[in-house]
Each structure stands twice: as C-alpha cells, then as structure tokens.
Symmetry: C2
Subunit: 257 residues, 2 copies
C-alpha cells in the first residue's frame, strides 16, 4: 500500500475532482465512501483504487491499487463530517436495458426530473426493499453518482439495475409494448392507488418535487391516481409518495399469492 502525502498528488487531485458530475461523466468513475458501502462491491474489477486513512482499522477489499493517507488528508477527500476512513473509486455500474424487460411480472420505478439527492437515494432503497425489478432515471434527474445519493441508497445502488439518462417518453412506450401498466401519482388523478392494478406488470412514475410530472408524461401514463390526503397537507414528500405506491404494489402482490 503506497503512502500519498500531499494534496498535490495526482491521485488525490483526481479523487477530489470526482465530486463534480462533469468529471464523473468524463472519467466514468465515482467515489464510494464508508466501510459498509465499500463492502457491498461485488465485482473487485469495478474498483479503480482504494484510499484509506491511517486510523482506519476496518475491512479493506482485495485490490492491487490501495493508498494510505493521513487522517487530515482523508478529511479533504471525504464528503462527510465524520469520515470512516475508507473510500473506493469505482467504475460506474452498467446494465443492459433489454434485460429489464425479461422480468416476470415486473415492477418498475420511473423518476422524472427528481432533484433532491436524499429523495433519490431513499427511493432507490425503497425500490430495493420492495424487490422492484429496475429503476429508471430521466435525463433531468439528479446524478445517481452524486455522493449524497450514493450514501442515502445505503448499498441498494448495487442491488437492482438502475438506468440513467432515460428518455421518459421512450421508456413509457417500451412499457406499453411489453404490456406493463404505467401509473402515476397526480393531483388530477381520480382513483386511489388501492383500486389500481398494481399486482399486474406495472411501472410507477414519480415526478419532480416541486412541479410533479411534466404534462407530456402525465398524458402518456395509462392511469393517474390520487393518493388520498384526508388531512390538511397540500402535498407530500416525493420519496413518501413513491413509497406508498411501491408498497401498495407489494401489498397487492402478496395478497395475490
């Protein structure tokens, strides 16, 4: 394990540069931080290199390219207030979109222009918990490899295929072609999610936190449902709306068995 001393070292500079989307897009790399997240990496070949701090005493994956740095230098690399002392620079995940449509009774989540990194990470974690088959992120959605998104997925990033840079109209068209019912939570919805056929092959559409789905997407969806709000709130958090719809699919599919 090589010791890197200075902020001027190329590897250190390259790692810091990955905090921007531009650099992540250019290199195809991203940073995964913390013992638990790093331990979720299935394929050691996806690791470009590892950096650990001097006081780190946890597990280190088997890799040729590991570097040791001072705790002070690690703090410069870390996105968190209390760094755990390990990070991996990895190649972005790649999934073939055609395989998504091979699922038996698929449950998809399609996100359009979601902006909050915490919301995106939480929705991916919920989709994973629910056993969803894939998550699709529109071109305008916050970057999957944003460190806050990665952290809030709590490892779910590695558990199910996530397709990025998606054209929502195209994916809805593909769903229709494969008889996958597209359903969106929308204030103009009439029925409740409880009356929707989420036990059948379905894709749940969730829009932007402030403006919801684009009118074009809402028009294309097979069904708009309204999550009942008998209280005084005018709206709900996007990750909560997603959870209610995703878990309504879980409930219906359990009772179908």
């Amino acid at each position: 394990m090589k010791y890197l001393e200075s902020l001027r070292n190329k590897t250190i500079k390259d790692t810091i540069a990955l905090s921007t989307k531009k650099e992540r897009d250019k290199t195809g790399l991203f940073v995964l931080e913390g013992e638990r997240l790093v331990s979720e990496i299935d394929d050691p070949d996806s690791i470009e290199y590892i950096i650990v701090s001097e006081s780190y005493d946890g597990e280190i994956p088997n890799t040729k390219n590991a570097y040791l740095v001072s705790d002070e230098l690690f703090a410069h690399l870390s996105d968190t207030v209390h760094p755990q002392g390990i990070l991996a620079v990895c190649h972005k995940l790649k999934y073939n979109i055609d395989t998504a449509f091979l699922s038996q009774n698929p449950l998809f989540v399609i996100l359009e222009n979601l902006q909050d990194p915490g919301n995106l990470g939480t929705i991916i974690r919920t989709a994973d918990a629910a056993g969803a088959d894939a998550v699709f992120l529109s071109k305008g959605t916050v970057d999957l490899y944003n460190p806050k998104v990665v952290r809030s997925t709590m490892g779910s990033l590695f558990h199910l295929p996530i397709y990025t840079g998606i054209d929502v109209a195209e994916i809805i068209y593909e769903c229709k072609k494969h008889n996958i019912y597209t359903l969106a939570a929308h204030l103009a919805g009439v029925g409740t999610p409880y009356a929707a056929k989420l036990y059948a092959p379905s894709a749940i559409l969730i829009g932007n936190e402030a403006s919801g789905l684009t009118p074009e997407t809402a028009t294309m969806a097979d069904e708009l449902v309204r999550i009942p709000m008998p209280g005084k709130a005018e709206s709900m958090n996007a990750s909560v709306a997603a959870a209610i719809l995703i878990y309504e699919a879980v409930r219906q599919r359990l009772s179908e068995v």
Copy 2:
C-alpha cells in the same frame, strides 16, 4: 417598520441565538422562515416579531413588531442558502394532551429517539396528509423547532397537534387505557401491516434510524409487524417505514367506509 442596521443589535443577536435548542428552550421562541411557512401562522398573537429583508416583496403578516434589514444582514439570520427574505420569531405551539384522546377513531404517531431533522419533518407532513390526530415525540427525539425540521414539515407543523418531550411508556399506557391499539414496525415482527387492525383506534410507533425502538417500548407495544422486504435491502428509511404504516391505516379506513 423599524430599520435594524447592525449584527450588534439586540433583536438581531436574539434571533441568531435561537438557532440553538438551549436558547429556544429558555425563551419558548423559535424561528419560522420563508413566505409560505410564515403565511401558515393562524394566530397573529403567536408572533413575537417579524424580520424582512430590503428586497423582499411578498406578503407580510399584520404585526406591530416588524423590522427591516439589509439583504446582507438577513443572510446572517437565515438558515437557507437562498433566503426568501422573511422570518417570524414565534412562541412555541402548545397543545393540551388530554384533547388528543377525545378524537373519534384516533390515529396517532409516536416517535422514539428519531434523530434526523428531515425524517421528523417528513413524518409530520405525512401524518398531516393522512389526517392523523396527533404526533408524539419522545424526550430523545430531535427538537421539533430545529430550523430543518420546521422547514421540512412544509407547514404541517401548524396542522395537527404535536406533543414534545413525551415519556413513551406513559403514552403507551394512556393508549392502552383508551383502547388504542399500539403497533410497531420491528424486525422481530411476525405479521404484515396489511393484517393489522389499523382501521381501529391505533398508535403507530417508530424508533431511532439506526437502532429502532428501545426493547422496553417494543415489549410494551400490542403488536410488532414486519414490513415485507422481498428485495435485498436490509432496512428502510424511518420516514418511509412510517409512511407505509400510516398509509396502510388510511387504506383500511377508506375501505371501511
């Protein structure tokens, strides 16, 4: 409207001091920031004073004590990166706990040692959307008047009674006395939420993000349920778990009508 010029002004100093829980507890005051949140204040008497910035051109509630400050000074007072230019210093909300138990077919949410401000705000917003009757916060829960909590409630703070500094054992005892069924999401749970009697008077218990409910509380609950996780995630976000249980109550209550 009086113009305040300096960071050394007593009102300015008092306002900045309210960013700490200690000062909020001492004075019984808290800061509410942004046009929308300030417009949700029902009782003008609960406003101690208002501060607006020079470039603010939105609505200002009717109050004797309003101050104008420069945009630069307002930025020092603001908790956000892009301040809207209005804040109100208000008296904390007060609710009589006995009235909670007068609800017809109550739905309560009891939070034990929840730590993340965003989670607390989101759960309060979800409880409000669902028409829950009250939210109870244990002594160890993050402060309701923390600016991040206040902001993430999106106004729901004013829509339903929220009781703070609660002894969870005592409130469960009160629930039992009033035939309110106490139910908790727990990894040791056997049944699903879908089989629980959430159509009846119920209180949903949600624990700490990392450690869940304390064993004492889990033992006191009438029923432990396990939210099904057919996927690979080991756990879910606390505000997502809360949403799934709260909305299962909504679903059951709608189908009872």
